[in-house]
């Protein structure tokens, strides 16, 4: 019998998280290359619509794993449900998107099944009858090809943007949906989550800015923010920052770009002293042109920059401002 890949798609408060399609696209590629079957699962309460949506994709089966106890997401509930499904269906490989929700429960799930999770993969490599997963290490300075060395089930999560969701192939006919009702005993779920909310004041909307000048820890001191601000003003740009700058209170939180901040796609993104950690990059890689100034030639930001300048930003920004003034006449 062929081996099976199980993709666990993500739903939050009854809505499918679209990054699930990226994982599905990656899983379809692995399934095709390895000659394995592909199944999908969605976990929650009242999730028939999501199951049907996934069943339209090229998968051989969709499990709708249902229990009222799964209505709000909790790690205890999701692990109990998925442990049951995986123990009985025995997939070889379980794939999920590397979202905050999955980070919250996937290591627990793998541990509960005495197995392991290769987290935050950006792709895979076929190596004979093994599948290795590629992941970033040392904040993106290196990539590693990682192998499973124990027994299945194996778990892996894909980083957002590793595959294109719109390339998840549709099936010829809808796949069968099997509803799996799980019993989750009282007391299993210990956490009591409240509804998600957004912190009130989001004064700045950076998503509409055509030009963004963004500063990272390379700016060194709070008083140096002023230099970046002057450059931004000259370019009629909005000022933005990496997370550590906002954590330090040098710029307000609503100017943070990245997975826990805003996602932008301006005409120009000028990154000053930003290393290019993936959590930052997911928020700005859609920019039409990326210019990076960083003193470290190996900084990961240069992997996605259109124009790169390896230099001390304090040497470059002043003459740059002079040239811009000249150009503007």
């Amino acid at each position: 019998m062929a081996e099976t890949i199980l993709v666990v798609v993500e739903q939050r408060e009854g809505k499918l998280n679209r990054v699930s399609y990226e994982t599905l696209a990656g899983a379809q590629a692995i399934a095709a290359e390895m000659g394995w079957q592909l199944e999908a699962a969605v976990v929650g309460s009242g999730i028939a619509d999501i199951a049907a949506e996934i069943a339209a994709k090229k998968v051989s089966k969709v499990y709708a794993v249902e229990s009222p106890a799964l209505a709000p997401y909790t790690p205890d509930g999701f692990v109990a449900a998925l442990k049951e499904l995986i123990s009985s269906r025995r997939p070889r490989l379980v794939l999920m998107p590397h979202t905050y929700q999955v980070r919250d429960f996937a290591p627990k799930l793998a541990t509960a099944l005495a197995s392991t999770l290769i987290s935050d993969a950006t792709g895979y490599v076929k190596d004979g009858d093994r599948v290795l997963f590629t992941r970033q290490m040392f904040q993106g300075k290196f990539s590693a090809d990682v192998a499973f060395t124990g027994e299945p089930p194996y778990f892996a999560t894909f980083q957002t943007g590793s595959y294109r969701g719109d390339q998840a192939a549709a099936g010829d006919a809808p796949a069968p949906v099997e509803t799996v009702k799980v019993e989750i005993a009282d007391g299993v779920v210990r956490n009591r989550p409240q509804l998600a909310f957004k912190e009130a004041k989001q004064a700045v909307d950076l998503t509409q800015a055509p030009i963004i000048v963004a500063v990272g820890r390379g700016i060194k001191e709070q008083k140096n923010i002023e230099i970046a601000k002057q450059l931004a003003d000259l370019l009629d740009a909005e000022l933005a920052a990496s997370r550590p700058i906002c954590d330090a209170g040098w710029l307000p939180m609503d100017r943070q770009i990245g997975s826990s901040g805003q996602t932008v796609a301006p005409k120009l993104y000028l990154a000053l002293g930003i290393s290019g950690a993936i959590q930052h990059v997911v928020g700005m890689k859609g920019a039409r042109t990326i210019i990076a100034i960083n003193k470290d030639a190996d900084a990961p930001i240069f992997e996605i920059a259109d124009y790169g300048i390896v230099a001390n930003l304090f040497d470059i920004v002043p003459p740059l401002m002079e040239e811009i003034k000249k150009a503007k006449g």
């Binding site: 793998a110 541990t111 090809d145 192998a147 124990g150 210990r190 409240q194 909310f197």
Partner: protein, 256 residues
């Protein structure tokens, strides 16, 4: 409240990293520092202790050099430290690191364990959650606020895209702490002095060996990432670069 904080020593952010001969790891002769979110985890533990009294214990696994992060934590106010000391700890996967930590604290009774949400070197984002499962405790990840409640604690989880969520949970629990949850303190001179007399328990690999098993994952190859984009590098003196860049801004990016 008795709180354990897991702190890890990682290569400094600006350290130039090179591959070693095996091609599966880096050369370890670089400068190190404490993993950033772990510093926030320690700060949070110290603040909780100041509010509710109790004890703050720090733990790390790693070679002799890793002791530095424990010393710093003691200087900032942690009460005692546990060092699982052996170079071989560096090569353990997250499952085994968590097992080793669990074994080292089996005779202790903590109310809370804090870890960072993710390490800067491996970046597994797993050790804390695995530890919770091994201990049978509740957990919550990416925490930005913690307060005591009548039945346990109430924490604020960071979600994606600027969303947050409050979660009520019982104790004991494991929390993975996000950078920025608080403002870090500096060690004082008195603190550094006092740290010298604080207890530091050493645990050898032999003592926890029976708890760990062969790694379940293995790095086959470590390498510089393949470039996704063709980057045009602008070179020359700062003045030349500035001129060149403005020319691009005008004629190619068309923003001037």
């Amino acid at each position: 409240m008795k709180i354990l904080v897991c702190v890890k020593q990682v290569p400094q952010k600006d350290a130039p990293l090179k591959l070693n001969e095996s091609g599966a790891w880096i050369r370890e002769d670089v400068s190190y520092e404490v993993n950033e979110p772990d510093a926030y985890a320690l700060e949070e533990a110290l603040r909780q202790k100041e509010k509710h009294s109790g004890e703050v214990v720090v733990i790390t696994t790693g070679p002799t050099r890793a002791q530095q992060v424990l010393r710093e934590a003691l200087a900032k106010g942690a009460d005692r430290a546990i060092h699982l000391e052996d170079p071989a700890f560096v090569g353990l996967d997250a499952f085994n690191t968590a097992k080793a930590i669990a074994a080292a604290i089996k005779d202790e009774k903590f109310d809370l364990i804090f870890t960072g949400l993710q390490s800067d070197d491996y970046g597994y984002a797993q050790t804390g959650v695995i530890l919770a499962e091994l201990l049978g405790w509740a957990h919550a990840t990416i925490i930005m606020h913690i307060e005591k409640s009548e039945t346990g604690i109430k924490v604020k989880r960071e979600l994606e895209s600027g969303y947050f969520q409050y979660v009520e949970m019982p104790l004991p629990a494991v929390l993975t702490i996000q950078s920025g949850i608080n403002k870090l303190r500096y060690a004082t001179l008195i603190g550094i002095k006092q740290a010298k007399n604080k207890p530091m328990r050493k645990v050898t690999m032999a003592e926890v060996q029976s708890a760990i098993s062969p790694n379940l994952q293995k790095i086959e190859k470590l390498y510089i990432p393949h470039k996704a984009k063709k980057t045009v590098m602008l070179e020359g003196s700062p003045a030349e670069i500035a001129k060149n860049l403005v020319e691009k801004l005008k004629n190619e990016v068309r923003v001037l």
